[in-house]
């Protein structure tokens, strides 16, 4: 009998099949056609509460939540976020680190290859590293303090999960402050008694009713109110619409003090008062000079509500050690505003009811404490703090601040800390003389200079010798300044663990990367309306976690299982158990809640959980109008501020006692390390680079959405906005690719030539994903992250906050073949 070659091979293949063919990927089910019509569910995000149509196991359509009358176009990016090609799909480990762990080559971090792990293997490694760090070093070697704009939802808040789980294993270095309001939240408690930046502000209806003049100081609310800390419903926009109408009819005058024509200014069609970048304090001192010398200030208010005016005014009058009289003529040479215009502006604000609305940009610069302090001093001199439509706010551009609060209690959250009475596996809390908490923006200084002592807010902070970092839902490779400096710092780290849902730069600079699912892939609960606290939203799971991603709850429960604390971690409850618990506790807290007069009285009692979950929301109704600091104005002794004296502190003895040379006892003008428009180093780098909050994403979130990016990118790069004059002087046309550079780095960006920008000012919006051409220090960033260029110094010894807006650059038309954008492409490979 003969056998054909084919028959022989078939037999041989069948013989090999048992060892070479694995189990199939399919399983049998009952045959069925796909007939599902889909179901609408409620969900929420920083971009807005929403209703989503889920069809065939996929999110088919997203619509704004019914209560959101002014939805942002960013909702169009939700599907692109869920199904994005940049999703982290599996637990991954950096190959070099897997081979050699902390003894491996750290210089390849950020440009190396990864290998897939099972969840068990990945969490074992995570646990082993925590164990190694606590055993070989101590809590001072672990930094798990950084947190960011986690996805919305009170059960799965990722920073809480990370910090609770890590804390149950052992202590670690924590952070204080944040990148948005670092200077403001430190200086304002000295001056006004609270951080102010995250405080509810005077209600918009009262501003609309009572203000004659509204000043937007470095403030672009129409842009920034698109996103909110909770599930936003954009109620502020109704008031901006009314403000626009009042501007048109001439009943309110709105003036935007800003070097740039902002989106808000253009929407409101209001006035602009141009000022040179970073010179606001000089301008404001000259205003104070005018108010004082023309006797336009309120001595009565100062006498009743403030301290320290004499020391301050002596400085204004040139009667202190610097001997410079802060006249408008003096300021004109710095701030670029004609002296007479400064006087007229001061007179205008004093003439009638004026509401000052400050943005956060001017405190994100070197000496950023000063403009905020000076703003409070001006408001005090005007004497309108505590009046409806008067005084000062530092938050009306944020998360619906100014929309009346319902007054209801919001749901709590999954705990961030170890339960009371419990101790971690490693009870060691000896930081060996180093600080257990560091100012957040100084953590790269800490990595580069362990053991160094800095001054911070009246205390000494000695940097711990950090060896391992854990990040969850936090992208420091977007939000920290000077990425080339960061590269050097990361060479010192032994282990970096990141939990996220997309391959951003922080993942690429990590050793162990764990895939969290998005907020649309788990059940949760949150408030909607942010500061209005309008209601409670059921955040239904729309689809199962994609690929091998898992919820933060599941990830950290399983981590805790490795040291026998999982039951304690989750307090015996599963995901839906926590959702129901938070709702029931909220319902109990609101038992006696009554909606504001005129509100829907049927909302006074929250329904049972099952009904709420089915309905998708429980509404608290609108809130009542409120005036910030009205209680203080009414009875300053009874309702004292949280300042050392209980009064507004125009001068602070406490700060003066610190003896800082960069933050004295009263607000002062100080030159910056670098400044455009004739400032230091402007002969080499004449353009001020401002890195404002983006218009079409939330910081770096949604930068990965190709659909949205296509609406603003230029030649596939982040836009850089340039004035026509600066563009012409450099031979740059709208749409050109340009290289922006300074001594700290270089990047590619796409030119947008716009007369919204004055000469000497360029803008790249922060949150652009970092994508250098290679691991080397100074490598060209291919997409256009402004933090490739920004300055990494503390605002001052007081706040040690980010100084991102102190940054000058030069730009040139890019010639030659442009490198491909690497920002959205995961880890790249090195030659082996």
């Amino acid at each position: 009998m003969t056998i054909s070659r084919r028959s022989f091979l078939k037999g041989a293949m069948a013989g090999s099949a048992a060892s070479l063919i694995g189990p199939g990927l399919l399983t049998s089910t009952a045959a069925a056609g796909v007939t599902e019509q889909g179901v609408w569910k409620t969900a929420g995000s920083h971009w807005g509460a929403m209703n989503a149509l889920v069809k065939g196991g996929k999110v088919a359509e997203v619509k704004p939540f019914g209560a959101d009358q002014y939805p942002t176009e960013m909702l169009n990016g939700i599907k692109g976020l869920i199904y994005n090609p940049s999703r982290i799909r599996y637990p991954m480990v950096r190959l070099e680190w897997l081979k050699n762990r902390h003894n491996g080559d750290r210089t390849t971090r950020g440009d190396n290859r990864f290998v897939r792990l099972t969840w068990d293997a990945a969490l074992d490694l995570f646990h082993e590293e925590l164990e190694r760090i606590q055993t070989d070093y101590g809590p001072w070697a672990l930094y798990a303090g950084a947190t960011g704009w986690r996805q919305t939802g009170q059960v799965h808040s990722c920073g809480n999960h990370m910090q609770r789980a890590v804390a149950m294993h052992g202590d670690f270095v924590k952070k204080v402050g944040d990148y948005s309001t670092g200077a403001g939240q430190v200086i304002l408690p000295y001056v006004l008694g609270s951080t102010e930046v995250y405080s509810q502000g005077t209600s918009w209806p009262l501003i609309l009713e009572n203000s004659n003049t509204v000043v937007l100081w470095g403030n672009d609310p129409y842009k920034n109110l698109q996103v909110g800390w909770n599930c936003e419903t954009h109620e502020s926009y109704a008031y901006l619409e009314q403000l626009k109408a009042k501007v048109a009819e001439g009943s309110i005058r709105v003036i935007s003090v800003d070097p740039v024509r902002t989106k808000t200014q253009k929407y409101l069609d209001c006035e602009q008062l141009y000022i040179n970048p970073m010179t606001d304090v000089a301008f404001m001192l000259a205003m104070a000079h005018t108010l004082y010398n023309e006797e336009l200030y309120s001595q009565e208010f100062i006498d009743a509500y403030a301290l320290g005016f004499d020391d301050f005014i002596a400085y204004v009058q040139g009667e202190d050690e610097d001997g410079v009289v802060k006249t408008p003529e003096w300021a004109e040479g710095i701030c670029g505003v004609p002296a007479e215009q400064i006087r007229e502006f001061a007179r205008l604000l004093a003439a009638d009811r004026t509401q000052l609305l400050f943005g956060w940009a001017i405190q994100r610069q070197q000496h950023g404490e000063q403009p905020y302090w000076m703003g409070a001093v001006l408001a005090t001199m005007l004497g309108q703090i505590g009046l409806p439509g008067g005084g000062i706010s530092y938050g009306h551009h944020y998360s619906s601040i100014g929309v009346p609060s319902s007054g209801a209690s919001a749901p709590g959250a999954f705990p961030r800390n170890v339960d009371a009475g419990k101790t971690p596996v490693h009870e060691n809390s000896d930081f060996q003389g180093a600080a257990s908490t560091i100012p957040v923006a100084r953590w790269i200084d800490c990595l580069l200079n362990p053991g160094e002592t800095i001054q911070y807010n009246g205390a000494d902070v000695t940097f711990p010798d950090i060896r391992m970092c854990v990040f969850s839902g936090c992208n420091p490779w977007h939000h920290h300044q000077d990425h080339n400096r960061m590269k050097k710092a990361f060479h010192k780290l032994e282990t970096v663990v990141t939990i996220d849902y997309a391959w951003n730069a922080t993942c690429r600079f990590s050793d162990l990367v764990l895939p969290a699912c998005t907020q649309f892939e788990r059940n949760d609960i949150d408030i909607y309306g942010s500061y209005s606290n309008r209601g409670v939203l059921a955040m239904h799971k729309l689809v199962d976690p994609l690929f091998h991603s898992r919820s933060d709850f599941d990830i950290f429960t399983d981590l805790c299982r490795r040291f026998g604390r999982d039951e304690e971690y989750r307090q015996g409850l599963d995901e839906m158990g926590w959702v129901k618990k938070l709702y029931d506790e909220c319902r109990e807290a609101n038992k006696s809640f009554s909606p504001a007069p005129g509100g829907d009285q049927s909302t006074s009692s929250m329904p049972e959980f099952a009904e709420f979950w089915k309905e998708g929301y429980a509404d608290f109704g609108p809130g009542e109008n409120w005036v910030r600091h009205a209680d203080f104005r009414e009875a300053p002794e009874v309702n004292a501020l949280g300042t050392p004296s209980g009064f507004i502190e125009i001068s602070s003895r406490k700060i003066a006692r610190y003896g800082y040379d960069d933050c004295r006892g009263y607000p002062t003008w100080m030159e910056k390390a670098e400044r455009s428009h004739g400032g230091p180093n402007s002969d080499r780098y004449p353009l001020w680079l401002q890195s404002v909050h983006p218009d079409k994403r939330l910081h770096s979130q949604m930068c990965e959405s190709e659909e949205l990016r296509a609406t603003y990118a230029v030649q596939g790069r982040e836009p850089i906005f340039i004035s026509p004059q600066d563009a012409a002087e450099r031979g740059i046309q709208d749409g050109d690719l340009v290289r922006a550079y300074n001594d700290r780095g270089q990047l590619l960006a796409g030119a947008v030539v716009s007369d919204d920008f004055p000469p000497g000012v360029v803008r790249i919006q922060e949150g652009a994903w970092y994508g250098p051409v290679g691991p080397e220090i100074g490598a060209l960033d291919t997409y256009g992250d402004p933090n490739t260029l920004t300055l990494d110094v503390g605002t001052s010894k007081l706040a040690q906050a980010p100084s991102a807006n102190t940054c000058i650059v030069e730009i040139e038309r890019f010639e030659g073949e442009a490198p491909a954008v690497t920002a959205f492409g995961g880890p790249t490979m090195v030659e082996i």
């Binding site: 070659r5 084919r6 091979l9 078939k10 041989a12 293949m13 069948a14 013989g15 090999s16 099949a17 060892s19 070479l20 063919i21 694995g22 199939g24 990927l25 399919l26 399983t27 049998s28 089910t29 009952a30 045959a31 069925a32 056609g33 796909v34 065939g56 196991g57 996929k58 599907k79 692109g80 199904y83 994005n84 090609p85 940049s86 999703r87 799909r89 599996y90 991954m92 190959l95 897997l98 081979k99 290859r113 990864f114 290998v115 897939r116 391959w503 994609l546 690929f547 091998h548 190709e706 659909e707 690497t822 959205f824 492409g825 995961g826 880890p827 790249t828 490979m829 030659e831 082996i832």
Partner: protein
């Protein structure tokens, strides 16, 4: 999103199309490819390859499908693995680089990403595959947790259809053959050339997976011809 590109394999002759087809052998080939493309090789599997256990598959593909150059390329890639001190890890890193990391930079094995739309994962191709699986009484195993348009899932599905064809008789056979031909041409051969182009552009440590993808593309093209003419 991945843009359509021309493929160096687009004009490959459909070798072996004149010979009678042994569908059961094709079932084995599809399952073998699905295994290789579904997950990384572990040490034991890699050792079996180095011992030559895949030779019957490679010989069959060269013999029955006339894709000798692809077979040779894969065999050479296998033989060169001796250069590595940790070949399993290097192959796993290549696998990750191509298939698992950010899908914009590698050669993601998902049909949806090659259809020119902006949807990303779980696009229309995944929907069509889900319909096919559902109609055939299948679903992707839960623990696999991949969209239905993953190449390995599609090859596994193809294997089930070929098995049915091997077992079918009479009137049922022709519509099944036509359907398999349609599936090969419209759902696999439509994007595999782009996948091969993408993989060839990725700088992997070994040529193993790029060679495997080229082999898969050549095989599907050949099989489509044989199904059409059977």
């Amino acid at each position: 999103m991945i843009e359509p590109t021309s493929s160096p394999t687009a004009t490959r002759p459909e070798a072996g199309s004149g010979s009678p087809v042994d569908w059961e052998s094709e079932v084995l080939v599809c399952r073998w490819l699905a295994t290789l493309l579904g997950s990384e090789l572990d040490d034991a599997s890699l050792e079996r390859y180095r011992q030559g256990e895949a030779t019957p598959f490679l010989d069959y593909l060269g013999d029955a499908h006339g894709i000798s150059s692809d077979v040779t390329r894969l065999a050479e890639a296998l033989s060169r693995l001796v250069m590595f001190t940790t070949p399993q890890l290097e192959l796993a890193a290549d696998f990750a680089e191509l298939f698992l990391a950010d899908a914009r930079s590698g050669a993601p094995p998902y049909a949806s990403l090659y259809e020119g739309n902006k949807e990303g994962f779980h696009g229309e191709a995944a929907g069509r595959m889900e319909e096919r699986l559902s109609a055939a009484g299948y679903a992707v195993r839960r623990e696999v947790s991949e969209p239905a348009d993953h190449l390995a899932v599609m090859l596994d599905y193809l294997a089930t259809r070929l098995q049915m064809l091997a077992e079918s008789e009479g009137l049922a056979r022709e519509p099944l053959r036509l359907d398999i031909g349609t599936f090969l041409e419209h759902e696999l051969c439509s994007w595999l050339p782009q996948l091969v182009t993408r993989s060839d552009a990725v700088r992997t440590a070994s040529d193993f997976y790029p060679a495997l993808l080229a082999l898969t593309d050549g095989y599907c093209r050949s099989l489509a011809g044989r199904v059409r003419s059977a």
